[in-house]
Amino acid sequence: MTEEAGAHLDALRRTLKRLVEDESDRPAAKGAEKRQHDRHLYMTEVDVRYVKRYEQVSECPDEFTAITKDVSRSGISFIHVYQMYAGEIVRVELTVQNIRKHLLVRIVRCRRAGLKVFDIAGVFVSPEEAQAAAESRQGASHQRL
């Protein structure tokens, strides 16, 4: 890991600690922020790789390490130093009980959580949905808006 990446992760860990402390005092969210299923605190480093990315505007590297914040049956949230955009799709790789798992996640929200940290949330999607979204990049000029 490079020195810069290590510094990023340290910053992320500090922000995550503060976010978790803040959120534990906050009432449950309403509206679109309200998740279908209970969230469980789940803080671990994960490898993230783009499946569908908004090339024109994204400054995010193709692969990066993020730190998860919480997880539910329907989605996951993590924090990261770059902006992401709602609608992008990533593959999140994590280890659970020594087993590597891959989850496909469609980003639904990205919000600043500190000076150089973004709080990013997504929902799990099927491989078929992720595949269709990735292919739509090539066929974009013909797709119906």
Partner: protein, 335 residues
């Protein structure tokens, strides 16, 4: 700042759509029948489908007091195709003054965008109407600086999203010009970004968009998704530049981080999106909305100045206020 438009006689509304006389030029080949009602006489066909309209006929109708022509609603699609093509030639016409060209471009584009918006034909809006509008506007500005003032001065202030989108396109281009931008490509992109800035609202349910009362938290959340939805719709469209995408995605961000969707800070928000934010607020305030009457210019200026303390770019806000006040002063002098 109101567009003048003569409503059709009530007994004609069921069958005919009024269309601007000046859109028709000598030699216009029509694919629909064109009607007129000179001197308040009975409506009559002045040119059949497949025929060419000549100058003598046009002059005769104008002299007879026809301020609008009419098209049968059943042939409105054919008229729209004609209008789209005719708009492409408006700027080069020598028989029209600049304010008249501006009026035709603005009103006809607004009408075409309304049709596309209401029929959810966003492809037509993004691929066809946008290009014609942007090319016309930048050509008009670059050939005659007064065109910009004419455009800003004639904007309609109803509460429809499509009117707001065309207005913001005009205003943000005017502001960019006022701030010294002269590069045609940049002005085109700004006009385009302004036109598209609220395209995400086409995915918001109309009941929420037009609700008269206070929005419930879930409705507010839905409305606040429109910058994200706009980016999702446009990000991979050919011909849409990053600058335009950022105008769509960031126009509700605030310099102090209190905006949405991402809560960006200061220079993280592109300059073009900051300009869009200024004129977006001004047009929203001075337009009639389902939940309130249009605000007076003076009150809107006071709010813009409050916002300029921390939330929007102060220099841009002051430049916009100065632009509008100069145009208003010119209008008063002409009155």
């Amino acid at each position: 700042m109101t567009a003048t438009r003569t409503p059709p006689p009530t007994n004609l509304r069921k069958s005919y759509v009024p269309v601007p006389v000046d859109l028709f030029a000598d030699g216009s080949l029509l694919t629909f029948a064109l009607y007129a009602r000179p001197h308040g006489a009975a409506i009559g066909c002045i040119c059949h489908s497949g025929e060419t309209l000549d100058r003598a006929r046009l002059d005769e109708m104008k002299e007879a007091g026809a301020r609008v022509f009419y098209v049968d609603t059943a042939e409105h699609r054919a008229y729209q195709r004609f209008a789209e093509a005719a708009l492409g030639n408006v700027v080069g016409r020598t028989d029209l003054s600049t304010p008249k060209k501006v009026e035709i471009c603005y009103n006809t584009t607004r009408e075409l965008i309304r049709e596309a918006f209401e029929s959810s034909n966003l492809e037509q809006m993004v691929d066809t109407h946008r290009e014609t509008w942007v090319n016309n506007m930048v050509s008009l500005i670059c050939s005659d600086e007064a065109a910009l003032d004419s455009m800003v001065g004639m904007l309609s202030h109803d509460y429809y999203t499509y009117t707001h989108m065309v207005n913001v396109s005009v205003m943000v281009t005017a502001l960019a010009y006022r701030l010294g931008h002269r590069d045609k490509d940049l002005l085109r992109q700004m006009a385009s970004g302004g036109l598209l800035h609220d395209i995400g609202k086409t995915s918001v349910c109309p009941e929420t968009l037009n609700k008269v009362g206070r929005l419930a938290p879930a409705e507010w959340d839905e409305l606040k998704r429109h910058p994200d939805l706009g980016l999702q719709v446009l990000h991979s469209r050919p011909g849409i530049m990053p600058l335009e995408l950022m105008m769509v995605h960031q126009h509700h961000e605030k310099l102090d981080g209190s905006g949405y969707p991402q809560g960006l800070l200061g220079s993280e928000i592109t300059a073009e999106a900051q300009m869009t934010a200024v004129v977006d607020i001004y047009d929203a305030l001075t337009s009639k909305r389902p939940y309130r009457e249009a605000m007076l210019h003076e009150r809107a200026v006071a709010i813009l100045k409050e916002e300029a303390a921390a939330k929007i770019n102060r220099d841009m806000a002051m430049a916009w206020i100065d632009t509008v006040e100069r145009i208003r002063a010119q209008e008063h002098r002409h009155d």
